[in-house]
Amino acid sequence: MDELEILKKQWQSQEQVLPHLSYNDIYKMLLKKSSSIVKWIFYISIAEILFWTLLSFLVPESSTKFSDDIGLHNILLGVNVLNYSVFGFFIILFYRNYRKISTTDSIKDLMRNILRTRKTVKYFVIYNVSASILLIIGINFYYYVNQDIVFRFMTEDYGISNISQERFMKMFFVIQILFGIVMIGFVLLFYRIVYGILLRRLYKNYKELKKIEV
């Protein structure tokens, strides 16, 4: 007989030496908090959605005035309306996927649902990053075309003086680009660290399970 069969026979005919918990031990556990991956993903996702939503509110007044001055008011309003509709869509999608996660599903369905919920937030962030990049490029292009007005209002609104238009515009664009790169770098780093650690095993297991089906 092969060893697995011996193990199986032993496994069933005699109980292994296992710890035994009392009624009270188990009862106490019901009051403890879960530390499941699903819970972590839920919290992190909520934090991300809040972060990006808050970020879009955190535009300083002077900056709003500046964009109004140079004639971007209607365009930015349109962008905002579009942005919030997309936010709403993602939040609904996220919630629906999250609700589908259930430990009573098969192992495969459970993992698929967790990864799908995670993916929703991933796409949400990808949307935000690419929308930000597009917006930065678009606005800077607009600034570039309308350099004279930008310089005039910048010097008026922020009280900048003693600088030539050419030098100012160079600095202005360098700052814009640097800011964009730093922001995107930060988001990507966050992704690698948090989800790399959290989901590595889950992806591995899911892949393993899918391999069986091939």
Binding site: I6, I37, T104, D109
Partner: protein, 164 residues
Amino acid sequence: MNQELEHSFVTQLEENQNIVHKICRLYTNDSDAHNDLFQEITIQLWRAYPKFRGDSKFSTWMYRVALNTAITLYRKSKRSIKTQDFEGVSFKITTEPYDDTTELQLKLMYSAVKDLNDIDKALVFLYLEDKNYREISETLGITEVNARVKMNRIKEKLRTIINP
């Protein structure tokens, strides 16, 4: 009502706790991790309990939730010391005559099972618990044929580990 539910849940889990302990032992390497996993499984079982209709046995229903929790719970990957696996399990061998080789073989086999990946381990666990392939395939979410094929491959793999 809630107290009644709590009472019936805890009573049933107390009776069937060996299933959970066996899973914890397979999926963890020390007693701290064992207890953490046991607790998490208990919480997940309790959460899912209102949905448990009683149309299957409590123990049958437990397998799925417990394995799901074991496989998806985030754990820090500790470099486990291989020899620990030998200490980790002991069987009460009562077969006559008592045989050293049998025990050694058992331990070798058990540690080989423990070294399998999370999914293969779930399959072997259900196999050792004498679940049929229909149940195994439903718990994992794969087809019955694939479950059989996979199980045969794992058996082959284990055989080569034990008898190199």
